[in-house]
Amino acid sequence: MKFVDEYRDPAAARVAVEQITALARGRHLKFMEVCGGHTHTIYKHGIENVLPESVELIHGPGCPVCVIPMGRVDDGIALAETPGVIFTSFGDMMRVPGSNGNLLEAKARGADVRMVYSPLDALRIARDNPDREVVFFAIGFETTAPSTAVTLLKARAANITNFSVFCNHVTIVPPLKAILESPDLRLDGFIGPGHVSTVIGNRPYRFVPAEYKLPLVTAGFEPLDILQSIVMLLQQIRDGRCEVENQYTRAVRDEGNLKALEIMAEVYEVRPHFEWRGLGFISQSALKLSDAFSPWDAELRFSVPGVRVADPKACQCGEVLKGVIKPWECKVFGTACTPETPIGTCMVSSEGACAAYYNYGRFTKGAAIPVRSA
């Protein structure tokens, strides 16, 4: 595939790995990739088994599905089961467990739950079903928040009143701060999120080197992007530098996407606090619809239970998200908690650190011998 294969070239990968091995010799360095998309790339392409042992990757909190607390899932299911409602959601949310089952089970019980690829699809369903209430389960960081915002602007412009948004959009900087404040954290740098940064730019991360003395390199999503960002982190450490750098120059501008930020400012306001799965309440870490869009706010339009549900005791998603423990160190990993029966959300999405490790983790030790086609 043009424009993709270039970033998966094994020869270029070998060069990058040699650079990494040379730069990291004699050290043990831990870098956290913040974004779930990076975690996915790392496992899908087997990046960990080409890296030297001196470089360890910690899979951070950037999987939007993984950070949604159970109470919000329950609220979503309650909305889905409200008579007359068509509940629309990204596929990843369908299997996320609430305190009493998931959306897939609600669908089997008769709720009209539909998987969409974009909030605009949900708006189209609303337009096609004027006698039904269509609710969109909005999740995600600054990556997906603009598309929800655009959808709401279109809903208002077209005066589509049977459409509403159950807003669970979150922002990346507050949890990053929360993680950096965690006393048991040992990190040497961050691979910064690529897609989020196309929207917010690189400036919001300046506090990471300024206040916490850690380098951060914003990276793209192909395997060579990841390797190159690790090289850049190691070069900073070698040179005694500590700054925000941009590996993903083909997509990320320092100032971000001003148009998207403008739309977001119009549609959303910051919630005083929001609960994160495993990380607890983090102040000013999530978005709600602004007053101008209250007619499209599902939380105002319907009664949602809004009950806070404590994370299951056995589940150590929080520690996994903070990189304090590896997925396999969790007490229930691979026993009670598996991709078929996830307890924690890290096990649900393919971007969750636990699911990724469960599915792809075994052969990160170079056990396999390549085979070639005849």
């Binding site: 595939m1 990160t364 070639r372």
Partner: protein
């Protein structure tokens, strides 16, 4: 404090036994090898997706009730021994595809090809097919005629006759237009001995052409994704190709058509049934550019996408060249390739060496393909 610093504690000798991580990974592997368990108390869409949930449903409900030596191998069809010593292959399949027409075929083509291919995978020459229709009130006769004409065309192309059938009509809303169930019977030549039991380490894994065409063609034909690509279903009868393959590689061990759940699923089924380790080579997988592109955008792995005119074969190493040459000389096998090989350890597990040079596990599908969202 003025006291002397405590002496550094000697790091305990690294344990000779397996590390905790290895123990956890072994546990996952054992779990992965086990037939999945049915945990839900109601059917949901994942039970129909061909992955783990489907396997659990078959095991816990159908196999449990019907258990017998003919059914238990859970192959594409049953092998029936006649008193004369001849053997019949017998298989059945239901078709509920939406939309009923898609680029490259229709439910009519599928209803014939799906069943004759299952019969062909037993090494048999398909001869006779039954057809049963469940029709929704109001379904246009013209549409039914078109579907039946496609079935007649497909049957003629496959060299089979549709020899018996049934029709039922249900209330409007109780079905989605038209569902078809077909069954097929064929005769297995005396020389053919196929089965997972004969698969040996060192054998090669072949696929007869581009993978993922059917699933992507149908998904795009739904028009819900806003992606258009020139992808046609590969729906085709494989009986002829099987005979060509068996003539060129008489010691062929095992055949399967990778329909729902794709190549990844049949490879996993083989790894479990034959208790072998299967190594795939990503660089060798034949995938059309358009399919690869659509999968990349949707966050789906082509290994898990359905095919309706492809076969996966395991052949001994010394017959690989002949098998590939014979398939490539046939119009349905022009892009045949060796995609992997059989190894001994660890049994029951499928891995893939990525283009990039890494390695990952290819597990059975969990749920329906869940696209990534960031």
């Amino acid at each position: 404090m003025s006291e002397a610093l405590p002496l550094p504690v000697e790091e305990p000798e690294p344990e000779r036994g397996p590390s905790r991580e290895d123990i956890v990974l072994d546990r996952i592997e054992a779990y992965r090898r086990r037939r999945p368990r049915l945990l839900e108390d109601a059917v949901n869409s994942a039970h129909g997706a061909g992955g783990k949930a489907s396997a659990a449903l078959v095991d816990a409900v159908f196999l449990d009730a019907f258990r017998n030596d003919t059914l238990s191998p859970l192959a594409d069809g049953a092998v029936l021994g006649l008193p004369s010593g001849e053997r019949l292959a017998f298989s059945t399949d239901s078709f509920v595809v939406k939309p009923l027409q898609f680029p490259g075929g229709s439910i009519g083509h599928l209803a014939v090809h799906g069943t004759v291919n299952d019969v062909a995978m037993m090494g048999a020459r398909p001869l006779w097919v039954s057809a049963a229709f469940v029709l929704e009130e109001g379904f246009p006769i013209a549409d039914l005629k078109a579907i039946v004409a496609d079935m007649a065309e497909a049957a003629a192309g496959a060299g089979v006759q549709i020899v018996t059938g049934d029709t039922k009509v249900v209330n409007k809303g109780a079905a989605d237009g038209c569902y078809i169930t077909t069954a097929g019977v064929g005769v297995i030549p005396a020389s053919v001995q196929l089965g997972a039991g004969s698969v040996r380490p060192g054998d090669k894994v072949l696929v007869s052409g581009h993978i993922g065409d059917h699933g992507i063609a149908v998904m795009l034909a739904r028009g819900e994704l806003g992606i258009s690509a020139d992808v046609k279903s590969d729906s085709a009868p494989l009986g002829d190709l099987v005979q060509v393959l068996l003539a060129a590689a008489p010691s062929t061990r095992w055949l399967r058509d990778p329909t729902r759940g794709g190549v990844a699923t049949v490879c996993n089924e083989l790894a479990r049934a034959a208790d072998v380790h299967l190594v795939l080579d990503e660089a060798s997988l034949p995938v059309q550019n358009a399919v690869n592109g659509a999968c990349e955008i949707l966050g789906i792995d082509p290994l898990y996408v359905a095919n309706e005119g492809k076969l996966v074969a395991v052949v001994p190493a010394d017959e690989t060249e002949a098998a590939l040459a014979a398939m490539r000389a046939h119009p349905l096998g022009a892009h045949a390739a060796q995609i992997g090989e059989i190894r001994q350890e660890p049994p029951g597990v499928v891995i893939i060496n990525t283009v990039f040079g890494g390695t990952r596990i290819v597990d059975m599908l969990v749920g329906d393909p869940l696209p990534r969202i960031c």
